[in-house]
């Protein structure tokens, strides 16, 4: 009896291994599994084991699915929106979304689970935040700092870069993810009232805490900021926005009266002077870049003059 159990266990592990091998090398496993599900009779116990094997093999941020990224982002966004008020102005919100979507369209990751969404926060602090799953926030204070549409596009493209490169998910401590995946693999973790479920919920809280603390308190790792700047230059150039507007924005930050406050953007981002030098070097390496078009600056003025 014991030997039989052992054999069955090994067989399941073996099958799981085969499945996982193909998971990493090819995209047809789904079809294979569906064949497995329809044509053969596998017991619920075997199916359960298979799913658990799959869960247990997840170990890093790269194993977080797009749907999961969306749900993580929702909760991070809910935290941001509990701390900041929304700036209620339909036409400005729409305008910001138009610019944001233009950057998205020319990004490396235009399609994500529920799409990208942009919102203006009713705060005079200069700040911009990007939660996983495409929830992007900019403050009214930041809008005021921009002198044209291209500068605003630079900030939004930088934030789209953070989402596209999954910087939020990368800021989760690996040990927490491993723990969460382990708990998800446990069959009791989702039963209401079970000890594993409450452990799973508190691990999830820690995961969300890692991201919100990064977004609001600590700021992203310096190398992620540099990467997001480089992505912004790339997306802007493709979209037809002048990447020099990113340099203009960084220069405006340097001379901002808020620079010495150490709040918002200044708390969570590396010094704009250092970023400015790197961005200029990135742009210099490009053969040709678009220029700021007057027609865009004019429409920007129409909206910004309505800012209260």
């Amino acid at each position: 009896m014991r030997r039989e159990k052992m054999g069955k266990f090994l067989a399941i592990i073996g099958l799981g291994g085969v499945v996982l091998f193909f998971l990493t090398s090819c995209a047809s496993v789904e079809k294979g599994i569906s064949v497995l599900g329809q044509k053969t009779k596998i017991s619920s116990e075997d199916a359960k084991s298979l799913v658990q094997v799959a869960q247990a093999f997840r170990s890093s941020f790269a194993d977080i699915t797009e749907e999961e990224e969306y749900y993580i982002g929702r909760s991070v966004a809910a935290t941001v929106l509990s701390q900041y008020k929304v700036y209620k102005n339909t036409s400005i919100t729409k305008y910001v979304n138009h610019i944001g979507q233009a950057a998205v369209l020319y990004s490396d990751r235009p399609e994500i689970y529920a799409g990208y969404h942009f919102l203006v926060l009713d705060s005079d602090e200069i700040n911009a935040l990007a939660a996983p799953g495409g929830f992007i926030f900019i403050t009214k204070g930041l809008l005021r700092l921009c002198r044209n549409e291209d500068m605003l596009a630079a900030v939004l493209a930088h934030e789209v870069g953070h989402v596209a490169a999954k910087h939020g998910l990368r800021s989760i401590k690996k040990s927490r993810l491993v723990e969460a995946f382990r708990l998800l693999a446990s069959e009791t973790a989702q039963r209401s009232g079970s000890a594993n479920l409450s452990k799973l919920v508190s691990t999830y809280e820690d995961i969300l805490g890692d991201i919100t603390a990064t977004l609001i308190e600590r700021g992203y790792d310096r190398k992620f900021e540099t990467e997001a700047d480089a992505l912004a230059v790339k997306f802007m150039t493709r979209a037809g926005y002048s990447p020099h507007a990113l340099s203009d924005f960084l220069a405006a930050l340097v001379s901002s009266s808020q620079a010495s406050s150490g709040k918002g953007w200044f708390k969570t981002h590396p010094s704009p002077e250092k970023r400015l030098a790197k961005v200029s070097a990135t742009i210099k390496a490009l053969p040709q870049v678009p220029a700021v078009a007057e027609v865009r600056t004019q429409r920007f003025r129409q909206y910004s003059s309505r800012l209260k």
Partner: protein, 160 residues
């Protein structure tokens, strides 16, 4: 025991055979559209949703040409589908119907709606209503096209 091994071996063979037939891609975004040509502004010829399976026919500059279950051929942006690595947990959807055991369904869950619900019960002050409102702000492709055109952006940008 022998019977079990036979079933498992035949299952593995079935997987391998199906792998050789064609490359299947899986839609990984909530909704997306099938386009006539590999451009965002191309004519829309169909829509697809999360978990839909399509056969890959060709690939070009970040776009994939696919054939849907209804035999419609069109283009999808590669970021809308799984190309290299398949979603581990999606297999659960299929296993769920086969095994009809709720435990199986739950064991395969990840950070999804159910976990959000449990988290929200513990953290009541969070503003999910504003998040849902944020999600309702949508820009249609037609609107975006007009915005780009008027702003001399994208394909309408001025020659450099």
């Amino acid at each position: 025991m022998k019977k079990k091994a036979t079933i498992l071996i035949s299952s593995i063979s079935l997987i391998l055979v199906s792998l050789l037939l064609a490359e299947t891609l899986l839609v990984k975004v909530q909704t997306t559209v099938l386009r006539k040509s590999p451009q965002f502004y191309a004519t829309v010829i169909g829509s697809l949703k999360y978990g839909d399976q399509v056969e890959k026919i060709a690939e070009e500059n970040g776009w994939v040409k696919v054939k849907t279950a209804d035999q419609v051929e069109g283009w999808l942006h590669s970021s809308a589908v799984e190309t290299k690595k398949i979603r581990l947990l999606a297999m659960n959807q299929i296993l769920k119907t086969e095994a009809s055991s709720q435990e199986v369904a739950l064991a395969g869950k990840g950070f999804t709606k159910e976990l959000e619900k449990a988290y929200r019960e513990k953290n009541k002050g969070l503003n999910y209503a504003a998040v849902d409102k944020m999600l309702r702000v949508k820009v249609s492709l037609a609107e975006l096209k007009k915005f780009l055109q008027e702003g001399k952006l994208g394909e309408w940008s001025e020659p450099r």
